[in-house]
Assembly symmetry: C2
Homo-oligomer: 315 residues x 2
């Protein structure tokens, strides 16, 4: 359920490379042409264009675009042209280095399937010559470290593996979570154990049991508590396990809101999801706000950046 | 540097299956024939024999052997016939369930390459319908849990990846480890962070720096401390990171010693290493003890069990 649309008979990578080159030459850049090409090619096609461009013009298209463009538009294009795995590796690396933006790390660890996460970790190692785990561990401390390294480390089940969901276990672990939340014992080892090691299917059974038994969803229960970093990280992990689409729709609501406008998050969500499930996220967004996502993004952005995002949203 | 020797022109899997069948039929089992076949086939050939046997005789060769054999011999054959990945998964599962034998878990996590460990974790999931991390976390507590889940969880670098070894980092982390050991602060978060997330190459640089700076090896420094479970687990991890061959040679010394005879360990080491590096381990063993491994194993065992192990050692 991607929003990305690709022409049935796209030009060859060499032709696309030539058009991109033209758009970058002379006085002023032809942003419209850039947007038209880049936002209508899938990741495999973009990889081939990168290779064709480099072979023909002996320079990196990424570096060229960086020097031609600027501001949020540049950042968004820079994210988009990368291979998705490398892109997520870069996003995590930036998050690790910037005062550790643990929210992005939790999101990456919990939204991706285990095999996707593993591929991102391999891309991270290849690019940064460190493992993701060691960089996260080095830049965090205490319980936040324990939680983040646990989330990133565990190789969980993939959705198509045969997992045994154990209902008794779901009940007993829902109770453990509930007791800890009631006692405000958020840093409890058992919370970390459950969230960092159980399969997503088992966790969702536990969250359902939680609601059945205690009358409120775990998310609501957590929201009413004074958040510190660890509580916020737990909160995000549970939201991502329950429904990445609902989580991302909320991120888009927050990042396009006037008061809290956050281009980093806006760009990240649209660029990383356009080829995956942005159509589903758009639907959730509309249900929750009665405003089409295009309209909200259009209001919150301007210029080439706006045109670029709207093209990816499938306007 | 395996000790396993395989004939240049082995019989077909169907022929082997037939010979095994014959060896199991009638009054009494022909253990000699079983040993002769099973200890001279590599894992791929053994897999094919299993399939050929099952197809032809509509029963599992593993179950058949279990019912024919007994004692330590049965256990050793049972370990050996499995595919190596599945075998390690079973070994870990047994270790998890038996009062948590954390030594075996540390060994598996630290001796295997990251890709091997990942393959073992996938085999574990397929067989036991739980992730290795969740089972370990469920059956352990406190700092031991933290250490074990960290060791098993991190996807480190493989040996052929380009890792940057950072000498300054090796120095500063050697100092952290040394200070913690001097202060007997073995449960320090930083020890866990370093050992569970750094690449093996980086860790070995750190251990070398440790010796250069402080005059004694980290192993010796640790050995002089009163061990609890966590210290023992740290100790084993470091030994396995430094040299699996030295570690296994020591395990063989201990498990064949009269006072501490331990067939489980003896079987595990010989069965898991025969197809990998048992020749190297034999060399280390001889250098350390002046006794050939065959002689020590011969003294410590008897009967079919002895014949089976000696055949795997390459006598």
């Amino acid at each position: 359920m991607a929003t990305l649309s690709v022409p049935h008979h796209p030009p060859s990578p060499a032709e696309d490379a030539e058009q991109l080159r033209k758009a970058c030459q002379g006085w002023g850049t032809d942003e419209k042409a850039l947007i038209e090409i880049l936002t209508h090619r899938n990741s495999e096609q973009r990889n081939q264009i990168r290779l064709a461009y480099e072979e023909r013009y002996k320079e990196s298209i990424i570096k060229r675009l960086e020097s031609e463009l600027s501001g949020e538009f540049e950042k968004a294009v820079y994210r988009w042209v990368f291979d998705p795995l490398e892109r997520e590796a870069i996003i995590v690396n930036v998050a690790v280095k910037q005062k550790i933006d643990y929210r992005v790390i939790v999101e990456t660890a919990c939204v991706n399937t285990p095999d996707e996460l593993l591929a991102v970790k391999k891309a991270y190692q290849a690019r940064f010559k460190h493992s993701m785990e060691e960089d996260i561990a080095t830049h965090s401390t205490g319980d936040l470290r324990k939680f983040l390294v646990g989330l990133v480390g565990t190789y969980r089940f993939n959705a198509d593996d045969a997992v045994d969901i154990n209902i008794n276990l779901a009940f007993s672990e829902a109770k453990i979570l509930h007791d800890a939340i009631v006692d405000k014992a958020f840093h409890h080892d058992e919370i970390f154990r459950i969230l960092t090691t159980r399969s997503k299917a088992q966790l969702n059974a536990t969250f359902n049991k939680y609601k059945d038994e205690f009358g409120t969803s775990i998310i609501k229960n957590l929201s009413s508590k004074t958040p510190d970093e660890v509580v916020t990280a737990i909160h995000i992990a549970i939201r991502c396990f329950k429904s990445p689409q609902n989580y991302f729709a909320k991120m888009l609501r927050i990042s396009t809101a006037k008061a809290e406008k956050d281009e980093n998050t806006l760009t990240r969500v649209i660029v990383t999801r356009a080829e995956k499930d942005l159509k589903l996220i758009k639907n959730v967004y509309f249900k929750r706000t009665d405003v089409p996502l295009e309209q909200a993004v259009g209001k919150a952005t301007s210029g080439d950046y706006k045109a670029f995002l709207l093209a990816l949203i499938g306007n």
